[in-house]
């Protein structure tokens, strides 16, 4: 009876339905699972997790103390630990836990992270006075505060040291901001000025106009800049002295005392002593820091602001190029070209270009834009800078142009779709009233198709923002010395190389010397990128749906 019914069930074809239904569920679960993993890992990074203090007893070795943050825990078969060469006892449970602990103190230990066997950790506590120090170099420090010194003299010890330290860290951070302004803005301006003078002189020399008067002119300008530089240098030295005034002494897990300059400290906090609300406050300040700060320590710490800025600049320029041209091509194809086999072929070709691998565009961009176009631009307009290339090297403009080329099919297809949706009657009405074709186009067709163009542009931006492969060839670097937009003439530096979110992920995740430390940051960057692109796409979908509703009314 039962077997019969199973057979019957199979015969009815229901298994097929279930299997295909399962495929949908799997696809959805994979999608949501991926987003969830990225979200959890990306957001979790900023939370000030509790620090543990424990004794680690490897059988056969003297015990030592471990201080740090548990990053990852997993169950591992005992056999595998054994084959990894650990002194695992022959008898015991089949599985043991293995924990990845961020022990920090890279200057003392050599590494930030260490794998330990969880079963060998004993006397685990979370003392509230345990402190984490985020430093400008050498990563985090975990330990206990001993005292705070000013100019080498101890001014606070024990309990009293902590508020002193907080105040001094704040002071140092303000000084650091001042220093950064001086170094980046003021000295940057002077350097840009000097370079401009040098190029100007070289240009005059090439034109054969570099006479004594011109030379004296340049000299005086140069002298003025140098004088300004002297000024700033003095201020810098003063700030540096102030910056390095204080220091602190800390004790690590095994009782070793270390002196740390407060100038190197970004944050000092005691996570075990923080309440949930303090932690939340700290969390959001960390998130803000991530979004607004420059990267530190080979991009593995600090923020990603230059990458966000570079991505935004590049996509903006790309959108400014791609929208008019894409619309123009779509209008030509739909409104002016005679519909026939030729237009059909062109349409297929345009459609397919959207499917051409992005790296091909990168190769084209490098070969044509950078070397051919950029090389000619350099020879024609920037001969004074040669042999150092100005535009003949990968940069912002070429990256934007390459991506514009890559995204133009998206705009064409979307705009064409919008144009096709406009009922004929509307056009005919306009023409019948005596408007010319151009007037119909400008006053009737294009305004009605504008949401479609908008959709196309948003989709193009979404595609361009997420594309990395071509950018690796045409203008993205791991660390750009300055932003492409600043206060120095000509303000927008189209020839400069930029940082990019997507490339940042690739670079930090795969080229970084300290992958383990960088990993949380990569997840956070990935989350940001996913959010940006999902938002762009959803808004494009929303606009498209809205548009459809609108023309449904017109159709009837």
């Amino acid at each position: 009876m039962k077997q019969n019914s199973l057979k019957g069930w199979f015969k009815s074809g229901a298994p097929g339905v279930w299997i295909s239904g399962g495929a949908v569920s799997i696809a959805v679960i994979m999608t949501i699972g991926l987003l969830a993993v990225i979200a959890v890992r990306g957001l979790g990074h900023f939370w000030p997790a509790d620090l543990i203090h424990a004794s680690y007893n490897v059988p056969g070795l003297p015990a030592h103390l471990v201080v740090g943050e548990v990053v990852q825990k997993e169950e591992v078969p005992r056999e595998r630990l054994k084959s990894a060469g650990l002194p695992v006892p022959d008898e015991g449970p089949e599985f043991m836990t293995r924990e990845l602990i961020k022990v920090g103190n890279r200057d003392l230990n050599g590494t930030d992270f260490t794998w330990i066997v969880g079963d060998w950790l004993t006397n685990q506590t979370t003392p509230p006075e345990l402190m984490a120090i985020e430093r400008r170099e050498w990563g985090n420090f975990y330990g206990y505060l001993v005292n705070v010194k000013e100019g080498g003299k101890v001014i606070a010890e024990g309990e009293a040291a902590w508020p002193q330290l907080q105040a001094r860290v704040q002071r140092v951070n303000q000084l650091a901001a001042e220093l950064k302004t001086l170094e980046k803005v003021d000295i940057g301006a002077i350097n840009a000025g000097l370079e401009r003078i040098r190029l100007h002189g070289r240009k005059l020399e090439l034109d054969g106009k570099l006479d004594a008067a011109a030379q004296a002119d340049l000299e005086s300008e140069r002298a003025e800049l140098n004088a300004r530089y002297k000024d700033i240098e003095a201020r810098l030295a003063d700030l540096h002295a102030q910056f390095n005034r204080d220091s602190l002494t800390a004790r690590d897990a095994n009782g070793k005392e270390v002196e740390i300059e407060i100038g190197k400290v970004v944050h000092a906090y005691q996570p075990n002593g923080m309440g949930t609300f303090t932690k939340m406050g700290f969390y959001f300040s960390k998130v803000w820091e991530f979004l607004s700060d420059d990267p530190r320590e080979a991009n593995t710490e600090g923020g990603i602001f230059p990458a966000i800025f570079g991505t935004v600049m590049m996509t903006l320029i790309m959108a400014m190029i791609v929208t008019p041209f894409g619309v123009l091509a779509a209008v030509y194809l739909r409104e002016y070209a005679r519909q026939g086999t030729m237009t059909r072929l062109i349409r297929i070709a345009v459609n397919n270009l959207a499917g051409v691998p992005a790296i091909v565009y990168g190769v084209f961009g490098l070969g044509f834009f950078v070397y051919v176009l950029g090389g000619s631009v350099d020879r024609l307009f920037f001969p004074e800078a040669l042999p150092a290339p100005t535009f003949g090297t990968p940069g912002l403009l070429w990256a934007s142009l390459t991506l514009a080329l890559l995204a133009v099919p998206v705009v064409i297809v979307a705009t064409e779709e919008g144009l096709a949706r406009i009922p004929r009657t509307v056009r005919e009405g306009s023409l019948a009233l005596g408007a010319t074709k151009a007037e119909t186009l400008w006053k009737i067709v294009l305004p009605m198709a504008s949401p479609a163009m908008m959709t196309g542009m948003i989709l193009a931006v979404a595609r361009a923002a997420g594309e990395v492969a071509p950018l690796m060839l045409v203008g993205v670097v791991k660390l750009a010395p300055s932003l492409p937009l600043d206060g120095n003439y000509p303000y927008l530096h189209l020839d400069q190389k930029i940082m990019h979110l997507g490339f940042h992920i690739y670079d930090v995740g795969f080229q970084s010397p300290n992958v383990e430390a960088a990993r949380p940051l990569v997840y956070a960057t990935a989350l940001l990128l996913v959010l940006v692109i999902a938002t762009l796409n959803l808004s494009a979908v929303w606009i498209r749906n809205h548009l459809r509703e609108k023309y449904k009314a017109l159709d009837s």
């Binding site: 339905v17 569920s25 959805v28 990225i38 595998r80 002016y336 070209a337 790296i359 074709k437 997420g466």
Partner: protein, 761 residues
């Protein structure tokens, strides 16, 4: 009626006529017409320009690639008859210096004469210190690129000298002053102590040792000069060692020393080569160089690096030979490839200094330009009438041929000889390899490295990655598309479809990073779990389905039709959790605690952490939305009439699905798969990050790979603009472009036909 009409006519005042032809309105109309025309032109030009810019990609790539396949180009200049030719004697050797300005000619009178390459004007004449009464009978150059020359004298002695060129700028003008130096002293070295003429010489110098070989008739003499500098005193002591080798039976024709001073090649007799091992001073073997019994060896030369010998014969044939390991492990002298130039005997072969190319001249005055590894005959051209002697410049772009008292300067343009169809796609037998292989290795640390540019391993990697990705994506995406389009409740479809399609926009760098940093280590640690997951999922789904059908009707009817996948979500999550949870236990029970070790030790399969399995999972995930979206459209737009008809005839929904819907929509599904394949082939970031990027040709699921796209991304920034490597990378981009373009166009055409078919139904 009439009245009414009349009355209306009379009551209304006659309409005021508007004059449409006032000059003002006319002007306005003209302006409007002009604007219209302008817009038309603007759109026309602009639109076509955008479309042209897009097609420019293809043409530009082709334009960069094309020079790879063009042959060499030889331009002859006017021949020169310099005055010094009268008393200069017979030329033995011609060399050109690096700057292509000065040529050196060594004659049988023991004289080295330097002349200007372009004009033939004599610059300097140096009499070599040949002892009185002796004449020069033979000459030999060291490896290509080394300026060391040895001459064999009629009294059994040999003289070693070096030609150098000093560049100076007196009065801002570039001047090259040639000179002859004697690094081993001006006194000739006695090679044949009996004093018979040295008919052939050969030399090879390393930093410390000069190996000099010579022959008189069938007698062979090898001398090793070791100079040592005393660390304390700085005194240089040199030591001569005679190396005794078994003697020949037939007259020696050519002697070559391999630059590592391991082998001595002696061409002798009609066409045979004896190879001696200099390390253990024994004969490695005697090899027959030519199959044709009538032909004999007439010229031979070493290629740059000294590993290969090029043998030219009296029938115009050329062959490359080098030592390669037999299957039994013995090193043997093997013929690698052959070339044919003409029918006249080859008289001189000269190797390029920077590439594995060579130039040969035959007795009829024909010049041939070849490349050994690429197996290319780039050019065969008549340059002089009759037998002559030529010199090749270090950059292989200038040649000078001396024949019948005249100099014939030539320029040779040969930018990319190392690339050929066979080098790119077939197995190539490289030097130091024991058999022909597919290798991609574009750069290396050492200088005499030959780039190996076979696109086969990369293409193979590309297809392998795409294959594993499709293995996951195709069934999942198509099944999901069928279900969504046909079985799923409409309300749910509206929510599910955008979610999956949103994945299409997911930046691949994120998938790649996820695969490389999360999935790869995770898969490595949970191998049994991953495989059992793949097996258990379908079983779990079926069990769940069957259990559901056994449930009492009261429960079953509460679930509306088309909600199966919602029901399955907990089931799949449970099965997934279960397999991953069980993974370490299975590992302990079946694989001794570590499946990775088990795979590499017990199965003997290489296991890389970033392997094809990870790529398959990640890239499969990336192409699912592409396939899904198009296949779903195809299934969804199958006309309702067809399915309703089938259902009305009593078919179950599944029967209708398999026999009617899928068949009708199959072209659409097929085109969806093609587009997915196109995307998988061109995907860069995922493969770049999720594989080790090793260009191997193994179908092994656990080994890494390197794809065309990833290769371009990795190597493009470092390649020299305009070089062969650069152009080959462009070629791989072009291959990708064409491949995806063809795939997508086919898919598009199929879809358009399908749409037409539907509309007629």
């Amino acid at each position: 009626m009439n009245d009414l009409a009349n009355s209306t006519m009379t009551t209304t005042s006659p309409p005021k006529r508007i004059d449409f032809n006032t000059p003002e309105l006319q002007r306005k109309r003209r302006i409007r017409a002009l604007k219209d025309r302008l817009t038309r032109w603007y759109v026309l030009v602009g639109g076509l320009a955008v479309l042209a810019a897009i097609t420019l990609i293809f043409f530009f790539l082709a334009y960069v690639v094309l020079p790879l396949f063009q042959g060499a180009d030889l331009t002859a200049k006017d021949s020169i008859t310099p005055a010094w030719m009268q008393d200069a004697g017979k030329p033995l050797m011609i060399a050109i210096e690096e700057q292509n300005q000065v040529a050196m000619r060594v004659s049988d009178k023991g004289q080295a004469l330097f002349y200007e390459l372009d004009s033939g004007a004599e610059l300097r004449r140096v009499d070599l210190p040949v002892p009185a009464g002796a004449t020069v009978v033979s000459i030999a150059e060291d490896q290509p690129g080394s300026p060391l020359v040895a001459i064999g004298l009629s009294n059994g002695q040999a003289l070693v000298f070096r030609h150098t060129y000093k560049v100076s700028y007196p009065d801002g003008k570039k001047t090259i002053s040639p000179a002859i130096e004697y690094p081993y002293g001006e006194a000739p070295i006695a090679l044949n102590e009996q004093g018979a003429p040295l008919e052939h010489v050969s030399l090879n110098a390393t930093d410390s040792t000069l190996l000099l070989a010579g022959s008189s008739g069938a007698q062979l003499y090898v001398l090793s000069l070791t100079s040592e500098e005393n660390m304390m005193t700085g005194e240089v002591t040199s030591e001569q060692t005679r190396i005794d080798l078994p003697q020949m039976t037939e007259p020696v024709k050519n002697i070559f020393v391999d630059p590592r001073q391991q082998w001595l090649y002696v061409v002798n007799g009609r066409a045979q080569a004896d190879v001696f091992s200099l390390r253990d001073k024994s004969l490695n073997g005697r090899y027959k160089l030519l199959e044709n019994g009538e032909a004999q060896v007439t010229a031979a030369a070493q290629l740059v690096g000294g590993i290969s010998l090029i043998i030219g014969d009296s029938k115009g044939g050329l062959a490359q030979w080098f030592m390669a390991r037999d299957p039994d492990g013995e090193l043997r002298f093997k013929q690698i490839r052959t070339f044919q130039m003409g029918s006249a005997p080859i008289v001189e072969i000269s190797a390029e200094e920077r590439r594995k190319g060579f130039v040969a001249l035959d007795a009829a005055g024909k010049l041939g330009v070849f490349h050994s590894t690429a197996h290319r005959t780039l050019l065969v051209d008549q340059v002089v009438d009759g037998q002559g002697l030529f010199g090749l410049s270090p950059r292989a772009n200038r040649l000078i041929v001396e024949q019948g008292g005249k100099l014939q300067p030539l320029t040779l343009e040969n930018p990319h000889p190392e690339v050929s169809w066979s080098a790119l796609w077939s197995k190539v037998w490289y030097e130091n390899y024991d058999e022909p292989k597919y290798v991609w290795q574009s750069t290396a640390a050492n200088t005499d490295f030959e780039p190996k540019l076979s696109l086969s391993p990369l293409t193979f990697g590309t297809l392998k990655a795409a294959f594993y990705a499709m293995l996951l994506a195709a069934p999942l995406a198509v099944a999901a598309a069928i279900y969504t389009a046909y079985f799923m409740a409409p309300g749910m479809r509206r929510k599910v479809k955008p979610v999956i399609e949103l994945m299409e926009a997911m930046p691949t760098v994120i998938l790649g990073f996820f695969a490389g940093l999360f999935l790869a280590p995770y898969v490595e640690g949970h191998l049994p779990g991953i495989f059992s997951l793949l097996m258990l999922l379908p079983i779990g789904i079926l069990v769940a389905g069957f259990t559901f059908s056994r449930l009492p009707e009261s429960i079953r009817l509460r679930v509306p039709d088309g909600w199966e996948s919602a029901l399955l979500i907990p089931v799949i999550l449970f099965v997934g959790w279960l397999s991953l949870y069980m993974s370490p236990y299975m590992e302990t029970w079946f694989f001794g605690g570590d499946m990775r070790m088990w795979i590499s030790h017990d199965l003997g399969i290489t296991y890389d952490q970033r392997n094809a399995l990870v790529v398959g999972l990640a890239m499969g995930f990336a192409v699912i939305p592409n396939i899904y979206s198009i296949a779903e459209d195809a299934v969804f737009s199958v006309p309702r009439g067809l399915t309703l008809g089938s259902l009305a005839l009593g078919a179950t929904p599944w029967q209708t699905m398999t026999r009617v819907v899928i068949l009708t929509a199959s072209p659409g599904i097929f085109s969806a798969l093609m587009i997915g394949m196109g995307r998988a082939v061109g995907e860069t970031m995922i493969v770049l990050m999720a594989t080790g990027n090793t260009p191997v040709m193994e179908m092994n699921l656990f080994e890494g790979l390197r794809t065309l796209a990833a290769n371009v991304a990795v190597e493009m920034p470092e390649s020299e603009v305009g070089g062969s490597h650069y152009r080959v990378l462009f070629l791989s981009a072009l291959v990708l472009l064409l491949f995806t373009f063809v795939m997508n166009t086919l898919a598009e055409l199929i879809r358009q036909r399908l749409r037409k078919k539907y509309s007629s139904l």
